[in-house]
Symmetry: C2
Subunit: 248 residues, 2 copies
């Protein structure tokens, strides 16, 4: 079920492109559980295609670090470790703060309006615990901002990081309970309106550190401690901070 059903019949793209897009989305949105079987023949059967486009798509996802090739030549969602998580967060902070600053001159009022609409979608999805939309719109918000200048060499790098974090992010979201609204996205939007690049950098970094970095850090360290610590770590996370943008 890692492919979540067959491909549509009337798509003009090559099968490989369709398979790749499907799997990327499923990884980004955390729909594939770690440990779930990812075999070429299994995915091909589920998607209703031959093995070829699946093989090539898997190669591409390995290259993007969304999937990991193991010694037995199978692929899997890479397990999250403390060190890897810290690396991914640090890389997100330096790349996304820089990408946002570089995008600033290209951000129009119309784009700010669209970003606001996307932020509203995020907040609704968070309240409704619609994880697909929550992650998808969140990524959409960031990609929209960094892509304001059009093609950017930063975007594929950032996308690889999101793909790597996606499965873990969904699990981290599930540890959140309650509903508060401390909103780093609105701080970023305010910085954009004021054309304040430094404030934008700070807001993007705070968005990452106060969001996924905080909740994810709690989750991954609790996993390293064992299952019993999950509840204590969960209560700590709940008590300390607002939660909506914390999962960015």
């Amino acid at each position: 079920m890692a492919a979540t059903g067959p491909l549509a019949d009337d798509d003009a793209r090559t099968l490989h492109q369709q398979v790749l897009a499907r799997l990327r989305e499923n990884i980004l949105l955390g729909r594939i559980e770690p440990g779930q079987a990812l075999t070429i023949r299994g995915l091909a059967a589920e998607l209703g295609v031959s093995a070829m486009p699946v093989r090539e798509a898997l190669r591409q996802l390995v290259a993007e670090r969304a999937l990991e090739l193991m010694d037995n030549r199978r692929v899997r969602i890479p397990p999250m470790t403390i060190e890897r998580f810290d690396d991914l967060i640090a890389a997100r902070v330096v790349l996304e703060a820089e990408a946002a600053a570089r995008a600033m001159p290209y951000v129009s009022e119309a784009l700010i309006t669209r970003l606001e609409a996307e932020d509203a979608v995020i907040n609704e999805a968070a309240a409704a615990r619609d994880y697909d939309t929550w992650i998808g719109a969140n990524f959409g918000f960031h990609a929209m901002l960094y892509g304001a200048a059009g093609q950017s060499a930063f975007l594929p790098l950032i996308e690889s990081l999101w793909l790597q974090i996606g499965p873990f992010l969904r699990r981290a979201m599930r540890t959140i309970s309650g509903h508060y609204t401390v909103d780093r996205h609105s701080e970023a939007l305010a910085a954009l309106r004021r054309r304040d690049t430094m404030a934008l950098r700070i807001a993007i970094e705070a968005d990452i550190r106060d969001g996924i970095a905080h909740i994810g850090s709690t989750l991954i360290r609790s996993e390293a401690m064992g299952a019993n610590a999950v509840r204590a770590a969960h209560r700590q996370a709940q008590g300390e901070r607002g939660l909506v943008d914390e999962v960015n």
Copy 2:
């Protein structure tokens, strides 16, 4: 000739892995000219394999942004533009400075000795105009440093950037004449010995900006002006700065 000859017979890796490694190396070292034919059947014939491992390797290289998939479904070395070049340099600066700082606690005296040896290789290769070794050892120096802690999520990102810059870097090297030794690597090594993280960050950034960013910037802006400006830009680059580490 983009593959530079057939594969070796006694390699234990899968053919796909061998093809991928060969093509990655050739792209990183700038052995493939922009515009050079990259067809599946052509590469397969040159490497002495069937189309399959070549197809899969090309998919992977597209995912790493080393190659670009065009509308006609062919792949090519992506052309360098001013905007893209600026993005790639900025991304290198933020990622590599951070990766170096994170690696600092794991850098041993033995590693510093190995870095010094690699730097000597770079200097010899530069003096001898051995572009393969010059680029390869330079990348080796950086990868050795950032990989001091072992696996790092930064390294694949950085490697993608080097793959994207590689073909252009080789061309930029060819515009350099004369032999001076202003050495940013030795500044980085000095910072490592002193355990001075800020100085290391500064040295890495200076290495990138005073090196490839400077020469490459000259080349790409001259290309945007036209071929006649190449000589004027070339003389300017020669007159201003030492040249060895400037190509980093």
